[in-house]
Symmetry: C2
Amino acid sequence: MSTPAFSPQREVALHHQVRQDLLLRLRSGAWQPGAEIPPEPALCAHYGVSRGTLRRALGDLVNEGYLERFRGRGTFVAQPKLESGLAGAFGRFTVIGPSLEPGGRVLSCTTERAQEPLAAMLRIRTGTEVWRLERVRFAGERPAALQTSYLPRKPYPGLDRQPLATRFLLEIMGERYGVTLVRAVEYVDPTRADSYAAKQLGIKPATPLFRVERTTYAGEDRIAEYRVSLLRGDIFRYRNEFR
Amino acid sequence: MSTPAFSPQREVALHHQVRQDLLLRLRSGAWQPGAEIPPEPALCAHYGVSRGTLRRALGDLVNEGYLERFRGRGTFVAQPKLESGLAGAFGRFTVIGPSLEPGGRVLSCTTERAQEPLAAMLRIRTGTEVWRLERVRFAGERPAALQTSYLPRKPYPGLDRQPLATRFLLEIMGERYGVTLVRAVEYVDPTRADSYAAKQLGIKPATPLFRVERTTYAGEDRIAEYRVSLLRGDIFRYRNEFR
DNA sequence: GAGTGGTCTAGACCACGTT
DNA sequence: ACGTGGTCTAGACCACTCA
């Protein structure tokens, strides 16, 4: 290890400076993927920091996917997993586009009895009563998404009298019904507008859309809502970032 | 704070047990979003652990988006941001579907001079020579994706003589040309197959596809590859998880 | 000024893999 | 047996917020 020098500055957390210096070596290619890097005692000595501080820096890099550590073996430069669909490849995503406004035009809000595919999605027995809420959501003046939400009826009495046209449904569920939402899982497919969706969204039939199926969880396994959204592909895109 | 009891087990890391117990209170709704939770000294006493251990547990929960901490103010239960497109909403994604096999059928591998939109994507001057590689990628026996890759020519002499049909392009770039790939950014749109794509992928024209534009970075800002993939929507979906 | 979380240290013991 | 990383402790000082 013959690094020019490491001269920490005050004002900035030590562990952060160590992290940056390690990152420099990783990105510059001085440490190739798969290679083993020096053990903790060596790095502590090199940087002149305590083990706790060093481990904070290393731990951050592990969380960000740059390093892998194995007890008894050592610390290694992670192989980048940039290939979509590769095992272990994952990243962060965001939706790019204008914000959807709360509420929207309510097309219908009715109850029905859940039949098989839906009952399975909500993890309830077939025949249980559910709310079915259909809305057009707007981004500015433009209709941007057509959403159909399904909720078990029981926990949400009088849902059809709530301010569905002006508030986020998730907010209503939380504030009016005291449901604590914890996490959500989406599955995204490409699709194209049928004539009904095209009419509601003000676009031509067969325009490409995202079809987003989302399940929102209230407790660890309690499902609070199942929703299918059709998002206009000319307005929204997903942005994914891999380490 | 009147929790029944906290009886740690050996065999499991203490910080992990503390984390689980805190998580329980968050998910059960005992601590509502926005609420302040007890300060470190109180929690240390409650769990009978040192500050370092407690902070490890809290830090994990902050990283996972459950808590927010502010120096001088306190620790608060984070508001879930489950609405797509909401500021601050983000999550993890994975591609669901069979693994793409390395290589594929090479349709063409030629050089050309980069014109404006492409030059901008690769951040090179217009007129610079680039490789243009077009392949059909397979998942098992099925053609699953049509990919067009663009790379600056200079760093990759003889790319057309590499084993493009049997290896991952990213691996070739790494192993044969010593390029260290660091991160990648994708933009995903819905689209539909034109007649050319339909023919290459063995599907009917107008079938819904994902159009994935990906930029792979070698250094912090050095672009190693720009690629446009058409992914069959009947084979792949994206899975997104919030918080 | 009192209380919050952020940083850093020094030292100890342990579980695991390699030799 | 030795070296690796994983866990945990106790204590110190600091920066920030709020009353």
